[in-house]
Subunit: 346 residues, 2 copies
């Protein structure tokens, strides 16, 4: 298996990206194609023991920056690392693409660049996904940022794609699907969410109805469906709240000598909790609905997160997730009535 | 000052509602009019020392239940406690209304019941608000549930109303106003949020731009503006995440004898943090934009939360918040171009 890694993606690129690739190549026995500025990548590679590992470099002279407008950037920068990586996927030279870059840039490169792989037939909009830690394990959530204003049928497709992914890649036999809303009753929600609720009840899914923000961490649903605006707000709020709580605890403990001793004794417990919350363990989430395996990692990724993002790619390729989604979408397309949108813009 | 309390509002009504009223009457020296089933309220009052306190009862035979459709319920139940309380406000018999009942019911009673007080002139939509604890203090957030689909001008009005409240009631001289979005750049957000951003830049506000979910708990903004859908998701996600983290910590600590001793030593630190996160300290949030002081408390309120919700009402009345908002809205109405919507439905 060959995975293309956008080596210029993360906030600390290419250092952690390359280190993650080295670790993944060793751990999973896959070839990782490093796409980006050759010289910079070679310099990073030299810092690691890469004997026996398949880590070819494909040079790309440009980078899509965080502040750039995604669709303009991927059109203008034909030699950007994410565009070149995508082209390798389009040409069948690799089985997947992994990037910790601008997620809008990854999406735009998938759909609009010279390397575009496009959408799976019948899919209206691709969705960005993530794993959310819960009290009982983890949930899979989409969309978390690709589509701010969503039509009801798009939300229904997110549900189908998410359920397919949960089944085939996460190994959950009958995933419970919840729709993020501002109340449990089906009369709650924006107009789009209420309409999506009505569609979801008709689909061959284990639809458990609306879930609220407070339910996200309770593990009520295996798949949580949202538009990209509220979904993004939700995961970032969860991240911020956890960070605040730990900071407050640390601050109050530091102020008290006895509490400091106590915290030392309780450290192993804290460590377990910190690990549950650590996004690096989950690596990255697939961009579902595009015509290939594309994994988006957190921009603040370190080498462990990059290694795990490559693991997610390996699992998705093995599960043949693109083909599975193609079949699911085709099966329900008539039911959902979602014709692919004319505009390729996401 | 006289505050009408919907004594049938909370999940444990009328027990905690009445107890909160007794405590507030003593602590703040105000009269609290208890609205609800006379017999049930008398039974609760008998359990407390109420000597010298002004706690009259106004009988109301019906209750708006949590599961009911708010606008239908307040129209059908003309003798519901929240409707009767609102009528007292409309008739000038009280200075404010406090309720821990169905928040949609409180909103509907304000706008659609026989006791309706209506909107402040020029306000398109009232907004439900709350206090959000942050690393550095607290933020004021609105809307958190009254309006799921929002026009840009409504969001702009929320900003004006929130800033006025933060200034006059919370005592923040130049409140920083942030717009909740899925990215910091002004090109990020739903169409409504992007359009609201453009309006907010024009208004006489200390507008700091978009804030993301992860910023909510950082205290970057004093006032956070959102539509009621994403706002509701955000506050409930924060609540759920904090609860999960504390549950996980407790679970992992319990498993380890040494950690349990440590936790005991660290308990004072934990207690401070728990108090920061405790919504009961904040009592409730005003329903801003209606023609009177209306405070919505958490449905799961206990007596402390009810007492504090009444405190919030007292502060809002003292600050003359309705008049202040009336002036702010009038001053910028031409600028915002928000004509009051023809439909009174919220």
């Amino acid at each position: 298996m060959r995975i293309a890694l956008d080596a210029m993606g993360s906030d600390r690129a290419p250092s952690v990206d390359v280190e993650g690739a080295v670790r993944a190549a060793r751990r999973f026995g896959v070839e990782v194609v490093l796409v980006g500025r050759q010289e910079a990548i070679e310099r990073e590679l030299a810092r690691h023991d890469t004997a026996g590992l398949a880590l070819p470099i494909v040079h790309a002279s440009e980078v899509v920056e965080m502040a750039e407008h995604p669709s303009q950037a991927v059109r203008a920068k034909r030699d950007a690392s994410i565009v070149v990586a995508m082209r390798l996927l389009r040409e069948g030279q690799v089985d997947a693409v992994v990037s910790a870059g601008n997620s809008g840039g990854v999406l735009a490169a998938s759909l609009l660049s010279v390397g575009r792989i496009g959408r799976i037939e019948g899919v209206s909009r691709p969705a960005i996904s993530t794993i959310l830690p819960t009290l009982t394990g983890r949930s899979f959530m989409l969309d978390i940022g690709a589509n701010t204003d969503c039509r009801p049928e798009w939300l229904a497709q997110f549900a189908m794609m998410g359920a397919a992914y949960a089944k085939k890649v996460l190994g959950i036999s009958e995933p419970r699907v919840g729709l993020l809303s501002n109340g449990e009753e089906e009369t709650k929600g924006s107009q789009a969410v209420q309409a999506a609720h009505a569609i979801l009840k008709q689909l061959p899914l284990r639809f458990i109805g609306n879930v609220e923000g407070k339910d996200l961490t309770q593990g009520l649903a295996d798949v949580i469906v949202s538009d990209g605006f509220a979904g993004n707000v939700a995961i970032k709020t969860a991240e911020g709240t956890a960070a605040m709580l730990l900071t407050l605890l640390r601050r109050e403990i530091k102020r008290r000598p006895l509490a400091s001793i106590g915290a030392l004794l309780a450290k192993p417990a804290f460590r377990v909790v910190a690990r549950v919350l650590d996004y690096r363990e989950y690596g990255g989430g697939p961009l579902l609905g595009v015509n290939g395996v594309v994994i988006i990692a957190h921009g603040r990724s370190d080498a462990l997160a990059m290694e795990n993002a490559i693991r997610v790619a390996v699992e998705a390729v093995r599960a043949n997730v693109v083909e599975v989604i193609r079949q699911e979408i085709a099966a329900v397309q008539a039911l959902v009535g979602a014709a692919p949108d004319a505009s390729p813009e996401a």
